[in-house]
């Protein structure tokens, strides 16, 4: 199931939190060879984890991390504005745009592409439910294929590097009609996604009628 948890709320789920930080170490340090910091516990964490971000996590039946991503509002500190603003030419700071980072699929997930679909659905549900206009994020060339397959490719704001080194900044628009399509790809019903959202935020309806 999908959980929406702020960092302080995630502390109440130690198994989920620890498995997420270890899976992030595998994906970003071992596989993608990004310059990320791994601590003595084998957890990958950065300064944005300290800002009490909102995590969207796919929790397995065993209570472990299956996949996740992280959100922060662009009115505050974001990775894009701090490190990658040259990709876009100007900082992105808007109350209806949130930054998404650390899109991670557990190496133990039996069906990684389904987990990716579930996470994209949960991200879309978050934005639509809260009346946000876009998510913004930096992604590498490998990811664009996944976004396209799911039918929700970002609008590319800027790109640098070539081949495997290529990274881009992109904007994903939150549109209510995406939910049905992403739910189909994820193999769950749209109502299930609405339930995840309502359970986390206690809102049965959307905040802003779109």
């Amino acid at each position: 199931m999908i959980r929406y948890l702020y960092a302080d709320q995630l502390l109440a789920f130690p198994k989920l939190r620890e498995s997420m930080l270890k899976d992030r170490a595998v994906q970003f340090h071992q596989r993608l060879k990004w310059e990320v910091t791994i601590d003595a516990n084998g957890y990958e964490q950065d300064q944005y984890d300290l800002l009490n971000p909102l995590y969207v996590i796919w929790e397995t039946a065993a209570g472990l991390h299956g996949g996740s991503m992280r959100f922060l509002p662009t009115a505050g500190a974001t990775m894009l504005n701090d490190f990658f603003s040259h990709l876009n030419g100007q900082p992105v700071s808007d109350d209806r745009i949130w930054e998404t980072t650390r899109f991670c699929i557990s190496p133990n997930a039996p069906d990684g592409s389904r987990v990716a679909a579930l996470l994209m659905l949960a991200g879309a549900q978050l934005g639509v439910g809260l009346g946000l206009s876009h998510a913004v994020g930096v992604f590498d060339a490998r990811m664009i294929r996944i976004y396209r397959q799911l039918g929700w490719p970002p609008e590319v704001l800027g790109t640098e590097g070539k081949g495997r080194e290529e990274i881009s900044a992109g904007l994903w628009e939150f549109r209510p009609e995406l939910l049905a399509q992403l739910a189909t790809k994820a193999g769950v019903s749209k109502d299930v996604a609405a339930h995840w959202f309502a359970r986390a935020f206690g809102l049965e309806r959307t905040m802003i009628a779109a």
């Binding site: 702020y6 009115a75 206009s133 009609e177 206690g202 802003i208 009628a209």
Partner: protein
Amino acid sequence: MNRLVDMQDALSQATTLEEFQTFVENLRDVYDLEHLVYHSVNSTGGQYAALTYKPDWVERYIEQDYARIDPVVQGCYRQFQPIEWKTLDWSAKASRAFLGEAGEAGLGNQGFSVPIRGPSGQFALVSVNHKCNDEMWASFTSERAADLLLISHYLNEKALQIEGNPHRGPTRSLSPREKDTLTLLATGANRANIAETLKISESTLRVYIESARFKLGAANTTHAVAMALTHGLIVV
């Protein structure tokens, strides 16, 4: 329709914290609410508030350090999505006693808060409070949530500007959808066509137009389009 623009005019004229306070009081009246609160905490712990609560309640709140047990403060300060007070946890004995006391001090039974993360670790919370039944409140929030989000962020910008926050950028850039909206308006398309082109509802379109107008400090939609064109923010 133009309440937001009227408010923006009033807000843009505020240059002192006293005027900001007056604006907050007027805003409460415009929306016909019981109370409106703006509270900001910067990275060094400095605080500022503009609010409409009775002074003796504010004094009592500070003296008792109610921020420790206030579910609104506890629930909102670490998060960043808008929060309906009803969804917070009021079950603890101390919270219920606090709620009773707040009611006696003139607070309504309904509330909605917008947490804001600002630059350099600054943080603010804008809360509206009202006395009415659940149905009326649901209709108010669904109709006004977008306005409240927008106005909350502008309140924060203005407060930071008055306080002389050095980290503030000179102008706000338009979001991609605001640019799309103004660009299509500049081509002469009508609202129904624009909504269809952008695959959004007309009410959502209105939110984009209002927020673009707000950011540009424009008096009306035509003025906003003209300003966006002259500043090179959109290209037709």
